[in-house]
């Protein structure tokens, strides 16, 4: 494991801040009725996507989780988040040309096939992994999902296939304990998703999903293993969502409000603040630098909002041509 340089650490920090600012922008625009689709906030989940996807090469494949609709996974990889905002506003400059509602797409950076259906990524990622293995260039596939998605059959079929064929796939599960409004303790007897991986002979590691460095380090091991041809791994990141399942929905567990104490206790471990404190101690960050990074992110998100508003809607005449490839 190589030591992370100051530049690496600042890249992670900047990515966390930009993810949070853009998430806040989408949340506000949703509340103002300016998004033409729904939005599932990443608030609380930022460290998982940022920490893990920072390790992706440009030629890797990446299936995103729906938290933040792609922001935590695309921002660290240099994908301009204004295309996310524009897509949600239905503009032609969005990452799906304004015709998909929200789906994150970046062919050049291997962001393929983000999905509305939870747990969709497992078997598709097996396919990306199969392609990567056939290509023989050391590419790998990253597959992000939640703990709810794990309860679908695709998880088990993919885990089995990837293990049997030693496919280079890194599964990152963001376990926030909730699937929509339903706590998983009431729908599965399995507390740790990592235990399921082990059942398929796939290494499963549990990490603190609020600690971006812990996520980064665990992913680093899994990535190395996959690139060496040793097969898939699963990293279970224990995390928490601070907001409701999606914007405008009640924040409930079953049908009753979620526990304020539980939310407050996780707020104590806010992933952005935890990392900020760590970097301040290491003197990688200073108060002035924190302020500068925050200001840049504010300016960037304000510019993205304006850019999206000023962008045209797609030409509906395109739609019939989008059904079949020539």
């Amino acid at each position: 494991m190589k030591e992370l340089s100051k530049q690496d650490l600042l890249h992670l920090y900047r990515s966390l801040i930009r993810t949070r600012k853009f998430d806040q922008l989408n949340v506000r625009l949703a509340a103002e009725g300016k998004l033409l689709t729904f939005y599932h906030s990443a608030h609380g989940h930022e460290a998982v996507g940022v920490g893990a996807s920072s390790l992706a090469r440009d030629d890797d494949y990446l299936f995103i989780h729906h938290r933040g609709h792609g922001l935590p996974y695309s921002i660290p990889r240099g994908i301009d988040p204004k295309s996310c905002v524009a897509e949600h506003m239905g503009r032609a400059t969005g990452w799906g040309g304004g015709i998909t509602g929200f789906h994150a797409v970046d062919k050049e950076k291997g962001v393929l096939s983000s999905a509305g259906t939870i747990g969709s990524g497992f078997v598709l990622s097996a396919g990306y992994g199969l392609a990567a293995k056939k290509n023989g260039r050391g590419q790998i596939a990253f597959c992000f999902s939640g703990d709810g998605g794990v309860q679908r059959g695709q998880f088990h079929e993919a885990m089995n296939l990837c293990a049997a064929w030693k496919l280079p796939v890194v599964f990152v599960v963001e376990n926030n304990g909730m699937a929509w409004f339903t706590p998983n303790c009431d729908t599965t007897a399995v507390e740790h998703v990592a235990d399921l991986a082990k059942a398929y002979q796939v290494p499963g590691e549990i990490v603190d999903g609020m600690d971006v460095l812990a996520v980064y380090r665990a992913t680093e091991k899994a990535v190395e293993r996959a690139r060496k041809g040793e097969g898939p791994s699963l990293i279970e990141c224990k995390t928490f969502r601070y907001r409701p399942h999606s914007e405008g929905r009640p924040d409930v567990s079953h049908y009753e409000p979620r526990s304020k104490e539980e939310i407050a206790s996780w707020m104590e471990r806010d992933p952005v603040r935890l990392f900020e404190e760590k970097l301040l101690k290491k003197k990688v960050l200073t108060a002035a630098l924190i302020e500068e990074i925050a200001r840049e992110a504010d300016e960037e998100s304000a510019a993205a909002e304006k850019f999206s508003f000023d962008s045209p809607f797609p030409d509906p005449a395109r739609l019939p041509d989008m059904v079949y490839a020539p």
Binding site: K107, S120, V123, A126, L130, A131, G153, E157, A158, V323
Partner: protein
């Protein structure tokens, strides 16, 4: 020229395409031994890396097919029975069909979903379906259903080369068919119907194995009725031009399809005829399909799936006799 069996025409097409393009590979259930023969012999020629026996996990097989296709490969996914497309439906209908759209036209899903379809062997409700209407109903998918070895080979080559997901349903009852196949390469473009028999009194639009029943019926009706038989060969894209031209000539039409009747292939073709050739019709468009029932097994199957006597009767009725 050489004679090839139906299944062998399919495997030869896949072999030719695998030799032509290293991105083509086969993945599926028992594809090395190939119980329905469509991929038989390929593993000996191309090895297990390109002819991959997968676990009995239709979602994983179909999902891996979609993923690999999006990453630049051209997989041929063998689900064995076409019925099993229902087990893989999430990956076929939600993913394969819609990824091109979802990716704003930047990423395609070039792949083939192969399945042996239809009745004839009494295998019952889960192994005798020909899920054509479901595929037709999902924009983004194409659908080929060859009725003979020549078409099977040419359509399979087109399906593999197509930049979209193509469902390729070959029929169990066509398996014993043998036909002369040219030595030189040929490809049958998707979306070209063929007039399998010319006639003047009534048009029969038949699909898959039903084409063969329609041709046999036409033969038996010779002297009594002049029957034109059209095989669309692919239902998506659907060559309505050829069908409409025939209807304008005969003024009478019956559609014969082995999928169940309700919201089916015949209903769609009938409506398109109504829209495009209503003024030429001397009688309402009629249809003969499988009953709206699970496909019964064993001795009861023939009461659900159209048989030759019903085909003859349906043509006579359509012709007004």
């Amino acid at each position: 020229m050489k004679e090839l069996m139906y299944w062998n025409a399919i495997s030869e097409a896949i072999a030719e395409e695998m030799a032509r393009d290293e991105k083509v590979f086969v993945i599926g259930e028992n594809v090395q031994e190939s119980p329905f023969l469509a991929t038989k012999g390929l593993v000996q020629q191309f090895g297990p890396e390109r002819v991959m026996d997968a676990p009995l996990s239709e979602l994983a097989i179909a999902g891996a097919t979609v993923g690999a296709a999006m990453a630049g490969y051209r997989p041929v996914c063998d689900l064995t029975f076409a019925d099993f497309i229902y087990c893989a439906a999430d990956e076929v209908l939600m993913k394969a069909a819609q990824q091109y759209f979802i990716h704003n036209g930047e990423v395609g899903v070039p792949c083939v979903f192969l399945g042996v379809a239809g009745g004839g062997f009494g295998n019952g409700p889960e192994h005798s379906r020909i899920p054509a209407a479901m595929v037709m109903h999902n924009p983004g998918l194409k659908l080929a259903m060859p009725s003979n070895p020549y078409d099977a080979k040419g359509l399979m080559k087109a399906a593999i080369r197509d930049n979209n997901p193509v469902c390729f349903f070959f029929h169990k009852k066509c398996m014993p068919m043998k036909q002369a196949i040219p030595d030189e390469e040929y490809v049958i473009p998707l979306g070209q119907a063929e007039v399998k028999r010319s006639g003047t009194d009534v048009t029969v639009v038949a699909t898959s194995y039903m084409v063969n029943l329609a041709l046999e019926a036409a033969k038996q009706l010779e002297g009594k009725l002049s029957v034109e038989v059209i095989d669309p060969r692919t239902l998506v894209p659907l060559d309505m031009e050829t069908i409409v031209a025939s209807v304008k000539k005969t003024n009478r039409v019956v559609i014969i399809d082995e999928d169940t009747e309700c919201c089916g292939v015949a209903a769609e073709i009938a409506q398109q005829i109504n829209e495009q050739a209503f003024d030429y019709l001397d009688a309402p468009v009629s249809r003969l399909c499988a009953a709206n029932s699970p496909i019964a097994g064993a001795a009861m199957e023939k009461y659900v799936i159209p048989q030759l006597p019903q085909v003859i009767k349906a043509i006579e009725t359509a012709a007004g006799i």
